[in-house]
Subunit: 326 residues, 2 copies
């Protein structure tokens, strides 16, 4: 209706004007899973669309204990001090929104949380990883429209969340820790392959030599594993979020990667490819939701039969299809 | 109808009796994309199901030039000589079935092609990777029901095909080649992370020392990249398909991995997890096919708009959904 449309228009204008409360309300709207909110959110995003895309989108992952929050707090504060506007978003498919977890987000990034040129938003809650990520991606677009020029999307690394985040950013940074001997800690299987930049964190004080050694070993290991198709040699930095060391180099490296990508056209190609991936991911998710609605129990029963070996995957799928799409 | 059902019953009995012509006809049926054939195939698989699952399922990948065909020809012939029945299937989403390509498969594995205890089937053609793989998976079940106790699923490594094949086998083997200096050739990005066993091929004659050195380097690199959650230390072998060297060790390593998995329960858990993944993959594919039927052009147009940046992914998906599911 007209009132709704006008309200959305007003919200879009307020977001574009950089009003902070409007930003929060717009993100709440795109995070909503209600059908009517979805339509409104689509309308909002369509209006903001021309003003999106003008940020550096940075993905960041690291196991619990890798010092991710401290790093983002310090790194983000460096950037706002240099005149940037920094938004920090999160993709955590296991999160449940409570007073505690919002408070947690503000507490664990104490400086950024009080910084007027920063905006921190915890992970949207509920739904599949695909659903959570879709809403985070829309939140990213809203932040860009509101004038944020650096977006950091962090993820804890549950299931496929790193790949999902890598599919929505320009550059993906993975954190590790120096372990004992020549081992590195906190690098999850598969993450090394999608990271554009690796950083060994907590390289402060007496840890520093060990961290630099670990970074060197990792760099050699990467060389043995072969070149990337785009020719980029993944750098391995030794940094300290706690001591604010190596973070200028990290920012420089991120910019080098993006400049290189701008020169070769790979950055634009990456964003276009991501947009198409996202279109199909959202479409599939929406179709599945609508087609499976009301049949959840039946699907669960078939899934159990398949898991136990009583039915083949194909036979179970055939049975489901014959009920769902007569 | 009754005639069809009886024909399927007879086909199932002939497959279970190990009749070779029945095996070929059964696989042709499960590879067919016709709606009526699909229903018959589901019926067939349901009858064969109790006799499936009793093989070692081996995935194998390697870039063109890695010597995959020669290796499988020799490796498979060793196994049939030791009393095994070996089926070789392929997942190649780019393949088009012609007389030439079937001939190609028979030619490139000359010994196995003439071996009565071996069965070679080229990749099913057409459709998405998911569709091709689904049909290969059903073919694997048919081969198992026909008494084959070793199934080798090979893939050339186009797009996500390695991950897809890794999701249908018990053990995934990736081939590499010794390159110049300390580099390895033929290891695609991401493959190291999903391989359970790595083998540096063409380690024959004067190549042997270089291949063994490359294998050692790769082993060190893997150690630096950290331990797997299941505790398995990925072995790196130096082998030669051409000279039939190291292939007993490869077979032993494959068996060690499976025995370890049987002991810890991870093998059964892997198969159950795979079955559920397959159920959802087939279901999603079938739903998408049915819902998108007739709208392909519109979807392509929306995809183009998204790729060019004219529409957001969410807005385009919303538009598609509103047309598809009124």
């Amino acid at each position: 209706d007209t009132n709704k449309t006008e309200a959305i228009n007003a919200l879009a204008q307020a977001v574009l004007a950089g009003e902070r409360r409007a930003l929060g309300r717009a993100i709440t709207l795109v995070e909503s899973r209600r059908e009517d909110h979805r339509r409104e959110a689509a309308l909002l995003i369509e209006q903001l669309q021309p003003k999106t895309g003008r940020s550096i989108r940075i993905g960041m992952t690291g196991s619990p204990g890798a010092g991710k929050s401290t790093l983002i707090d310090t790194f983000g504060s460096n950037l706002t001090a240099a005149g940037h506007k920094v938004a920090v978003l999160a993709v955590d498919p296991t999160s449940t929104r409570t007073g505690g977890s919002i408070l947690g987000d503000k507490t664990r990034m104490g400086r950024l949380a009080q910084d007027t040129n920063a905006f921190i938003r915890p992970s949207p809650t509920g739904g599949t990883l695909g659903g959570v990520a879709a809403r985070t991606r829309e939140a990213m677009l809203v932040c860009e429209a509101a004038g944020f020029d650096v977006i950091i999307v962090e993820t804890v690394g549950v299931g496929q969340s790193e790949t999902t985040v890598a599919d929505m950013v320009d550059v993906f940074v993975a954190l590790a820790l120096p372990g004992s001997g020549d081992e590195l800690q906190g690098l999850k299987k598969g993450v090394v392959e999608i990271a554009d930049i690796l950083a060994v964190n907590k390289a402060e004080g007496t840890n520093a030599p060990r961290a630099r050694e670990a970074a060197g070993d990792l760099q050699s290991a990467l060389r043995i594993l072969g070149a990337r198709p785009d020719g980029w040699v993944v750098p391995v930095l030794a940094i300290s979020g706690l001591a604010n060391e190596g973070l200028d180099e990290l920012w420089q490296t991120i910019n080098d990667f993006c400049k290189e990508g701008a020169k070769t056209g790979s950055l634009v190609a990456r964003r276009h490819r991501q947009a198409v991936i996202w279109f199909h991911a959202i479409l599939d998710e929406r179709i599945r939701e609508r087609v499976l609605a009301g049949f959840e129990d039946e699907i669960t029963k078939l899934e159990e039969a398949v898991r136990g070996g009583g039915k083949s995957a194909a036979a179970a799928a055939e049975e489901a299809v014959s009920h769902l799409l007569r």
